[in-house]
Amino acid sequence: MSTLLQMNGISKSFPGVRALSNVNFDLQKGEVHALVGENGAGKSTLMKILSGMYQADEGEIELNGEILRKTGLRDMLKAGISVIYQELNLISHLTIAENIFLGREPRHKSGLIDWKTMYAHVEELMASFKIDLNPRAKVYTISPAFQQVVEIVKALSLNSEILVMDEPTAPLTGNEVDRLFDIIANLKSQGVSIIYISHRLEELQHVADRVTVLRDGQCITTKPLSELSTNEIIHHMVGRHLTEQYPHADITLGEELLRVENLTKKGLCRDVNFSVKSGEIVGFTGLVGAGRTEIMELIYGHRKKDSGKIIFRGEEINMRTPRDAVQKGIGLIPEERKKQGLILGLSVFDNAAITVLERFSRFGFLQRKVITKKVKDMIRDIDIKTPSTNQLTQNLSGGNQQKVVLSKWFIRDCNLYIFDEPTRGIDVGAKVEIYKLMQSLAGEGAGIIMVSSELTEIMNMSDRIEVVFDGRIVKEFTKDETDEEEVMEYSLGLREKDVPA
């Protein structure tokens, strides 16, 4: 084998976060190299640098022994690097062949499209990799599994030597996974190299030659798969983190605030049972896509449940819209701060006050003085760093933006707060402040649900931990009865058999 690709000392920072620091990564010709790590460990960032979507702050990329000077999207594509993204980028009403040759359709001299050559090309390509698909089929008629194959063929048609597959098996069923592995084996035998990103550690044994583990933007280890057990991989993924940043508080739990019974929504979650007491912080963890956010959206009325009960403060309630939940005293700090939490083009005042305009208005007219005082007090209490209440929220830092989202619920005095990834993309200092705020809310008797992919955060902040896998709560732990590795095993679905039926 010879080294095809070498990424040396790659570093990349975003405002407030160091996403990658001094990462080394290499790929041999014809190998499948698995890239694993917790959510936010830096896998996506590294691959985005490889695909040219991001530019590294430091470090260089070597291909076939030559350092690449230009690393833009087009340059990387030309250099033979293709990424098969989780969200497929196909146009569903065009045929497979049209999708593959989109933008570079073979043409006759007259300028009209040479359909014959196009289909012949695609058929030939598929035959050489033993893929059985009709190039004339419209993309919407084939399953997601095959759509992924179309993406792969598209990459091959560009003469790509390196394929990056991001969670390729996530949307696939068992049979389809086996087929994909066959195709990967075929690709390997023809000298194509593959970088394989997956959370499903058990499947690595079927495909991967080597494994690289990333954690907190650093490369922890690179070893042949045969030298690493699944347990060791998990250990490397989780690592040892500092715990001092998590404040401690002794809060006596009150009575039950929320109880969820057999909550089910087809395709998203099934038979979800849990409860939250007053003063309690319940942590929800699991992989991205496991259904954590969806469960919260069902409780919040943002999605409609199929069946199950939601009992809030002793009364069964049916949330039809978020408005119902808010009126009952539930506040959601959503996962996507900029898309769902804030109105970026409006001021701190407008964002913070939006939930109480109704409460503080008379005949439709706002009691500006009252509201302004509330907002100003809130800014002071939770220390939002902004030059004035009129500052547009788009000009604030991530941490301060998040605090504005918090303030709009604090100002309402909710009974239950749902925090979905509350500290994503914000710096360590602001994180600690948000933890403290969560604890002071709990201390005042509010119930808190915290959804997070950051295991240390879950471990250190939660009184109780619910692990979600594949739309179900597969395990419930109380504080201090488990460790990160055990939680990770459940998150990865490795201990599924333990689940009571």
Partner: protein, 310 residues
């Protein structure tokens, strides 16, 4: 330090500067332009679509559009004429006219929200529906000849100022109050800024959006009163093409077509600017055909400026 300040002024008050600039040029080119009669003329002519532009500002602030305003004006106008001809006094006619406009506006809003259809399509359809209903009702003939009292709305004066101008001013001030001092106003900006966030904040966004299309219809009803009274006739083709001037006034006034940003004073100046340009070109003897070309260029130019701002 100096250049950012100039940029700031141009960004926020460019429209005012453009307005003053155009007025100065026109006053040099035409001796009539700055006379009292001409100025009153301009504002009076501006009132009709200026009032609708106020309603349209709400709609565009939410990120929507209302193409049906011209047709809503026509259907409200014939409703008014019908009432008057049936022997009702000016006051019942007045109420019905405004209710008809508001009703059609609310229907727009209801369909947009209930059917989750883009405002462009719904109001385009309504543009045709309302026009068709107008023609069905009148069978294509104008309804004209009303008594003296009603005609004062469009032609009368109050403390020396033409009534339409007073109505226009009152509408602008009310809209300003609503947009800055009420819940509805703040929600209007919020919905245009990010509807998802508004919904997740526990606000019944569809309800407020529907109301806002109702406001647009309401302003079309008010304009219908003025136009019908002034012409002493309700025409089936009344208001045809008005959506162009109305939307242009809002956009020139700096309200972003993607919603969430803008102010009523901008619309006010935008409407006046269009009035001044129309009037100026008439004074200079520029043909109506060429005027259309100029107006189109100004609209595209205004949106282009808005893009450059970001």
């Amino acid at each position: 330090m100096k250049s950012p300040d100039i940029r700031h002024i141009m960004k926020n008050y460019g429209i005012v500067i453009a307005f003053i600039f155009i007025c100065i040029i026109l006053s040099i080119l035409s001796p009539v332009f700055l006379t009292k009669i001409n100025i009153i003329n301009i504002v009076r002519q501006t009132s009709i679509y200026g009032i609708m532009a106020v309603g349209m500002t709400f709609v565009i602030l939410t990120g929507g559009i209302d193409l049906s305003v011209g047709s809503l004006l026509a259907v409200s106008g014939v409703a008014c004429a019908g009432m008057l001809k049936a022997g009702y006094g000016p006051f019942p006619a007045f109420i019905v006219t405004i209710l008809v406009g508001t009703f059609f506006g609310l229907v727009n809003g209801f369909i947009i929200n209930a059917g989750k259809i883009t405002p462009f399509v719904v109001t385009l359809g309504m543009m045709s529906i309302a026009r068709g209903l107008t023609m069905l009702y009148t069978k294509g003939y104008p309804i004209s000849g009303f008594d003296e009292g009603f005609r004062k709305i469009g032609g009368g004066y109050f403390i020396g100022i033409p009534v339409p101008i007073i109505i226009f001013m009152v509408t602008v001030v009310l809209a300003w109050l609503i947009l800055t001092q009420t819940r509805l106003g703040r929600y209007t900006y919020a919905i245009g800024g990010n509807e998802e966030t508004v919904r997740l904040s526990g606000i019944n966004a569809p309800f407020f959006k529907t109301l806002i299309y109702g406001i647009s219809g309401l302003t079309a009803g008010i304009s219908a009163l003025i136009l019908t009274s002034r012409l002493n006739s309700a025409e089936t083709i009344a208001g045809t093409g008005y959506e162009l001037d109305v939307i242009a006034a809002v956009v020139i006034g700096g309200t972003s077509l993607s919603g969430g940003r803008g102010a009523i004073w901008g619309t006010f100046i935008g409407a006046l600017l269009i009035g001044v340009i129309n009037n100026g070109m008439n004074l200079l003897g520029i043909t109506a055909y060429f005027q259309l070309v100029v107006k189109g260029i100004i609209i595209i130019g205004a949106v282009l400026l808005d893009r450059l701002r970001d």
